[in-house]
Amino acid sequence: MGIEATLRVLNEMQAAGVLADYAIGGAVAAFLYIEPATTLDLDIFTAWTPSPGGLLTPQPFYEYLAGRGYKNYEQEAIVVEGWAVQFLPLGNSLLEEALKEAADVKIKGVLTRVFTREHLMAICLQTGRQKDTIRLLQFIQEGSADMERFAEILQRYNLSQAWETFQTRHLKSR
């Protein structure tokens, strides 16, 4: 049992039409680009299906997984093959673009999709929690990001000012 088993289940959900296009974001995605650290869950970004009343809900994912015997939860995440999976909606246009432009990656032989490093960096900047700041600094320190592409993303999603502020606070004093 490993993350590839979890991804296999997600791909089967997709094949069954329960899950739309998805991509890995959050810590696991970031750790594929930067130095890995401890994480407890696997963030899956995908479009949530509207219920008959029009409400966007992850309920169909949980029902499908419950039908396959996955009934354990860790806070808001459901445990699938040892990994606590959190289904996150595409809450804004940056996340929608991140999903659209996600990279195809094979993890232990299982094909999946992962947000690009430039999108992950922009999401860190937009989200702005302390751990996002640290992660963004790690991306910059790692030095492999396409900074032109990153700047274009920032411009498209009105994050250029936030980037200026970030640089003043965390980079220019170095």
Partner: protein, 92 residues
Amino acid sequence: MGDLPNTPSEIPVKFLTVEEIYAAKEARRKYLAKLPIDQKIDLIEQLHEFGKTMIEARKSLPKQGASETLVRCAAGGKGQRPEGGQPGSERV
């Protein structure tokens, strides 16, 4: 083997400088960042297991409020309340 030092004071010890420690950490960071994906996944899995173990271990810690811990520390770890204190007055 007979030439080996047999007391700790005779063992040559080299202390790293801050710069050397920083350089070693930096080299490690670069090495880990550039690992092939499947090796990274192995590492992430190990760290994930470690994280789960730590969370479980945390659950087994005695349920002790932070304020009580502080008072215990201030009282030299003897669990004393401040003089004249009533149960519950130990908040700091």
